[in-house]
Subunit: 343 residues, 2 copies
């Protein structure tokens, strides 16, 4: 038996961050060691290749007793995210060394995982980081929210907040594929241009320069909004609620503007009565509960991609040490598409 | 031809009331005259017998340009509500003198109406005011919200705000009939007693004396809430959102605490992110869009009533002059069951 002990850098939750930005006070990179042959029956050891960086992780870095129910990460332990990894040792008959797998994994260079939570990926079908974005949870979030909850009909008016993000890009293009008119909100003029020229949005606006959102929505949606794909919350949701049409649908996959705040400090939405007078539905969902749609979803996405109807962008940061920077880039509004860390 | 001119007292909107209580400054009773034989082809003249008094009318007494979309009543014109009336003259072949009809009508002693908006009632089936409450829009609101949007399953936990109101009484009893555990919130100890002893609620609490609603909901729902029949809004909704279970449903038929305020002055709900983490649905509805369920609904209600499973109360005020008092009684929390004015 050769030497099987490796250096294993991990991103550890050093302290909870209930409000404000996440810093090195909260997330530390520590260096540990791992025996890659140390996996027990039913387990595999993986070397991470691509790690998904998602806004919802913010909520798991808090330890609030009330209000929000996402399970907190454990102090002193590696945080966990979706990843694409290579099997480097296996004690699970389903996997062998060299297999590429997808699953929840420590944000670390290596990890020992139960084989039961992993699925094999075929690297020939699509670029591997796409399994975290377009073909992964971000894309599936767009698909479930828009197609299963939103149920778009041709000619309907669709509004997407954070339109240039990992989810929003897919929502907008899927809405177009389904015959809707789609307008996105994003945080810079450059991203407005990209949405319209590269991703086929009918229109888009910079919510940081067009600060009267009520006026902006009147301008971009003179006939009102049928589907609002909600992933911002707060003041934007309130603005939208004054522009929804009868029988509007509001799938809610997240509220990025709310993750950085204790819930009692967040912006309160005052005009929910519009849900009644417009007979509208607002429905939250967690993509992990809809994995039964994954195969059909991937098939459709790959087909649209081949037909040139669907494009995507991945924002790649290098190395485990860049995780914190990658994470914070999502909240500063600089990224386009899916943020991943490549190891 | 005999004398057919009658005195016709009407409740007129004298000025809009965008906030605060509605007073005689806003609603006036004026005396006019009507020729009861003056109805034209397709019209009937009715003498009102019972007029429905509903919280949603509050929103129609405002003239806000933004935010809420219920159509405002016209200044100087009679306000309009559902009523049970007797035909006193008819120029519509479908109706004859003496018919009892149900429809939208001026809040007045007499009115001329298009026959096309009216349906005939059979006074032998149920007491006539029940067609405005248990068998009318209030009961149908309970039925659509609980059964069609809430979809209750045996053993589920149901919470009803304003439980002793015209809608809440029916929601609670329908939830019991469907095998749920049901707890109501109401505004006095007397009404708590009535809900438990007369209407079969498993429990109830006085939200004016138990003011820590978070603690109250922890006590009354140790395993969380599956269905919240929402007709309050604001602070109560926020409290409930911290106690909902996975896949909770929140049918919303109104937000009585919000009708008296300009929407910008209303309480903002800060924890909507719970909809995401609990995969919950909040859905507004207007009962007038579900009239296709009316026959099935009435059949079920009458059957439950005959079996002794469903009881009801009507709070009757006398005479057109009592309309304003009847209307305000709903907001002061004194009424039990359906509020109607008898002429």
């Amino acid at each position: 038996m050769g030497e099987t002990i490796v250096r294993n850098k991990q991103v550890i939750l050093a302290s909870y961050s209930n409000e404000g930005p996440v810093t090195q006070d909260h997330l530390n990179v520590i260096e540990t060691q791992l025996d890659i042959k140390g996996c027990k029956h039913g387990e595999v050891t993986v070397k991470n290749m691509w790690i998904s960086v998602d806004p919802y992780l913010r909520a798991r870095m808090k330890n609030l007793g009330t209000g929000l129910f996402l399970q907190s990460f454990k102090l002193g332990q590696p945080i966990v995210s979706r990843s694409v990894s290579k099997v480097v040792a296996s004690a699970d008959g389903q996997f062998k060394e060299g297999d590429i797998v997808y699953g929840y994994c420590d944000v670390a260079e290596y990890a020992v995982l139960s084989g039961s939570g992993l699925t094999k990926l075929n690297a020939d079908v699509a670029p591997l980081p796409h399994y975290l974005g377009l073909l992964g949870s971000s894309g599936l979030t767009a698909y479930i929210g828009l197609m299963k909850i939103g149920e778009p009909k041709p000619g309907e008016q669709v509004f997407v907040s954070t339109a240039a993000g990992a989810v929003g890009l897919v929502v907008g293009q899927l809405a177009k594929i389904n015959g809707c008119r789609v307008v996105g909100a994003t945080s810079s003029d450059e991203k407005v241009k990209v949405l319209k020229e590269e991703f086929g949005f009918d229109d888009a606006f910079n919510y940081k320069s067009e600060t009267d959102w009520d006026a902006a929505l009147s301008k971009y949606f003179p006939t009102g909004i049928d589907i609002y794909f909600e992933n911002v919350g707060g003041r934007m949701l309130e603005a939208v609620l004054n522009h929804i049409n009868m029988n509007a649908r509001i799938p809610v996959c997240g509220m990025i503007s709310q993750y950085n705040e204790d819930w009692k400090q967040t912006y309160g939405v005052r005009n929910l009565l519009n849900l009644v007078v417009r007979c509208a539905k607002m429905q939250g969902f967690i993509v992990g509960h809809h994995l039964d749609h994954m195969d059909q979803f991937r098939e459709e996405m790959i087909s649209y991609t081949k037909q040139g109807k669907l494009k995507y962008r991945v924002d790649i940061k290098q190395g485990i040490d860049s995780f914190l920077e990658a994470f914070n880039s999502m909240f500063s509004g600089k990224n386009i598409g899916k943020t991943v860390v490549q190891l």
